[in-house]
Amino acid sequence: MRELSLHILDIVTNAIEAEANRVIIGIRESQADDTLIIRVRDNGRGMPEELVKKVSDPFVTTRTTRAVGMGISLAKHATLAAKGAFDLKSTLGKGTELWMRFRLNCLNRVPLGDMAETVVNLIIGTPDLHLAYHHRTDKGDFLFDSYWILARMAENNWTLYQTMAPASEYIRQNLVKIDSVG
């Protein structure tokens, strides 16, 4: 994947397929510590321990169309290729938490890319999902919640699709305000 935000889109899509209705995306970016940490938590059905152990193997999937699943193995590879770390915890019936750490200034690190597009498309494609996106840098933090979109619909009598452009613009402006290098 060309952007870490595409891995995040893929991971949250997994959560939705695991019947999650609440997802929290947390990003912590620090020049002072030279780290970029991405955490995705969901309240989906979770995975049994045996599956957690082998899910980063590309030949493991819950899908039935074919016996190959690339999503988690690619995300793990993106961290290891940039001397980072990867962790996945899951509790059956409670949810899953995925954690990736990178060196912010490592040349092999894939850029974060367009988080606004990832977050807004997830909310618009799955309006029943309650999604919270929290992004912290050394300069400050920014929280975007799927309620922002629902509130704009209610206040302005907009359709769901009319919220896309203003929501994306709002997220992009706020990421600039907190000096996200991505």
């Binding site: 899908r63 597009e117 509130a151 619909m153 699709y161």
Partner: protein, 120 residues
């Protein structure tokens, strides 16, 4: 600061809009968002579709996502579920082609036959 009651009211109002769209929808556009689709560019394809629907003021169409359809080499895939429930699957869709699907297929009912990968 919004109270919990305000938030509930907002959610209810938004739900009504979504429910009415669900009831009146003629077309359903499905973007394949498996790992293969995402890697091939499905995210910008979805943005183009929603932007075009919004710009044209189309209200009888719903856009949803699905996982891998099993034809990873044809990604990004976009399915149009038509009013008669038949399904047209378009393959190798770019954002420009996605806008054409909205304009031609959804807007005028003309299938873009050269991009059709599968029909069922």
């Amino acid at each position: 600061m919004k109270t919990l009651a305000d938030l509930r009211a907002i959610k209810e109002k938004a739900k009504q809009e979504l429910a009415s769209r669900e009831q009146t929808a003629k077309y359903r556009l499905v973007v394949a968002m498996g790992t293969c689709g995402i890697a091939a560019g499905a995210r910008t394809v979805m943005t183009a579709i929603i932007d075009e629907i919004s710009k044209r003021g189309i209200t009888d169409t719903i856009v949803t996502q699905t996982g891998c359809l099993g034809y990873c080499d044809q990604e990004p895939l976009v399915q149009v579920i038509q009013p008669d429930k038949s399904v047209i699957t378009y393959g190798k869709i770019t954002p420009e082609l996605a806008r054409r699907i909205v304009a031609e297929h959804i807007g005028k009912g003309n299938v873009i036959s050269e991009q059709v990968f599968m029909q069922s």
